[in-house]
Subunit: 324 residues, 2 copies
């Protein structure tokens, strides 16, 4: 599994007039920002480029892809297809065939688990965001990056690095953003759209969830739950609980935070975060889940109170190993 | 009011063995990060450098200034004094005389309102943080920036730019941080210390305050209050309400957020934020307050319900001007 050069990939893209860009399902700032930046930049070169999607673009990210998204193949003739930020083809199940029907299929990604499913592949796990790779690709293509394209790349980096705070952030992330600023990007407006459009219902839900936090193991552990009833009462969806587990972790002294989501009667999704020393992937793997050392999850097919008991028992063991 | 060059200022500092660094009261990440970076860097050059303070260093910032702070003048002989991030000498009222007793007094700052109170001055209002200027100063002094000094500069920039999201963030901010990364800084640990040490009591207070949010003018305005009773009930201090007004502003559709703090029986501090179009400094000035277009405040000597009514009347007028 070897990378092709961005120069070679760029040259291939420029050979085609029709360019189909594929994002992953449950789109985030990086896949949509990357797709939109590439689409914008090649359109500026006179290309006929579109982003094909198979599910809804989240409301707060719509500004990135205005007039760029289609749900059906928009070309009659030959095209090249480019998947961005997709670790494998299961990340775009309904568009798999259309992706493979491109004369050439390109795979640009930053996930360690990428399966190199393209005819040409560029996978850089050390890259904080796929959007960084899009920046390098456009440079390799000798395309001057416009303010519009730069704002989309910026959105990808800003979200995937968690406002430049996450472990994946590198010197290069900041270097690239510094260059993007020089195109005149309006980082304030992009930031407001990305992070300052919290639905009031979501805030009320968060408030309920945070009101129920339980601390344990001398404040080294923090746990809370969301139930279907809480979603109903606030008129929210499960996706509105995003970020809660990070709020738990941000508490002073907390090493492991646990957030349990009641998906159904006997189905509980568990998200865990560790701050410095604990390994939560060890715990999630006990329940058939996965993830990283500092961020992991699993599903337990029990009711929420039983699931909570089961997971906290293991979390306490991990804390005991560190502080015991 | 003209700046001296950083080269000249750096040469002056290097002429002295005793260096006294002055921060502003109610220390934040920028003043303490800047002071600590300078102290660290000149100590590495063999200098006898100390940071003099007159109030407590906030708990979450103590890691920046370990073994660097004194409350009395630590020298017998001559010294040079350097104030960092202080717009005027009222920002260090108890240390004014000691600052002025330095053989040479230096003033390094980024506040527009700086009074050029030093013998040598370097004030750059366009700099996102004073810490950026310290970086440039150390470069001008030809001092190689160590990982330790770099982490302190990073803390200053990361806090004063609001994780690189605030309007003051520039291409240079990111460029400098990119260079700081190359010294091997542990940005994750610094970030955890700066932002992931939220006291559980503070979170519970936030929870109470957010639970009382009132939306008005079709969701364009959001308002909430904190009373002395709420502080008592949660065992918190008024300073624990920092960040609330930004949470209010982050609500989708909210243009002006208002946060009222009951300081005493007839004393209410008002903080206001605007998102895109409104000017809250106009409103604060009606009540003898000050601030910027997007962030302003004032004090009203009424009970909290009366103060709220008075301020919301003016906020509604401003919203009416924009959306009416």
């Amino acid at each position: 599994m070897k990378n092709d050069s961005l120069k070679k990939i760029g040259d291939k893209i420029l050979e085609y007039d029709n360019i189909l860009i594929i994002t992953h399902i449950l789109g985030d700032g990086d896949t949509l920002g990357s797709a939109a930046a590439l689409c914008q930049a090649v359109r500026e070169q006179g290309k006929n480029a579109w982003i094909m999607i198979e599910d809804k673009v989240p409301e707060y990210l719509k500004f990135l892809v205005v007039d760029m998204c289609v749900e059906e193949l928009p070309f009659k003739g030959n095209y090249i297809s480019v998947a961005v930020d997709c670790s494998d083809m299961e990340r775009f199940p309904e568009r798999r065939k259309i992706f493979r029907s491109g004369e050439i299929c390109i795979n640009i990604d930053h996930h360690l688990t990428n399966t190199f499913f393209g005819d040409y592949n560029y996978v850089e796990p050390d890259s904080a965001a796929t959007a960084e790779i899009i920046y390098l690709l456009l440079k390799a293509m000798k395309i001057e990056i416009s303010k519009e394209a730069a704002e989309k790349i910026y959105a990808g980096i800003n979200t995937d690095t968690g406002k430049f705070q996450n472990a994946n952030t590198t010197a290069r992330s900041h270097k690239i953003v510094s260059e993007l600023y020089k195109t005149g990007i309006d980082h304030i407006t992009v930031g407001i759209k990305l992070f300052q459009s919290v639905k009031p219902e979501k805030l009320m839900l968060e408030n309920k969830i945070i009101g129920n936090i339980e601390m344990f193991y001398d404040g080294r552990g923090a746990c809370t739950v969301v139930t279907q009833k809480m979603l109903e009462e606030t008129g929210t969806l499960m996706e509105d609980t995003e970020g809660i587990v990070e709020i738990l972790r941000s508490l002073d002294g907390v090493e492991i935070s646990v957030f349990l989501k009641e998906m159904g009667e006997e189905e509980v999704k568990v998200s865990m975060r560790a701050k410095k020393e604990a390994d939560v992937s060890k715990i999630s793997s006990l329940f058939g889940g996965g993830g990283h050392v500092k961020a992991a999850g699993c599903t337990i097919n029990k009711d929420i109170s039983e699931a909570k008991e089961m997971i906290l028992r293991e979390v306490e063991k991990e804390l005991e190993m560190i502080y015991g």
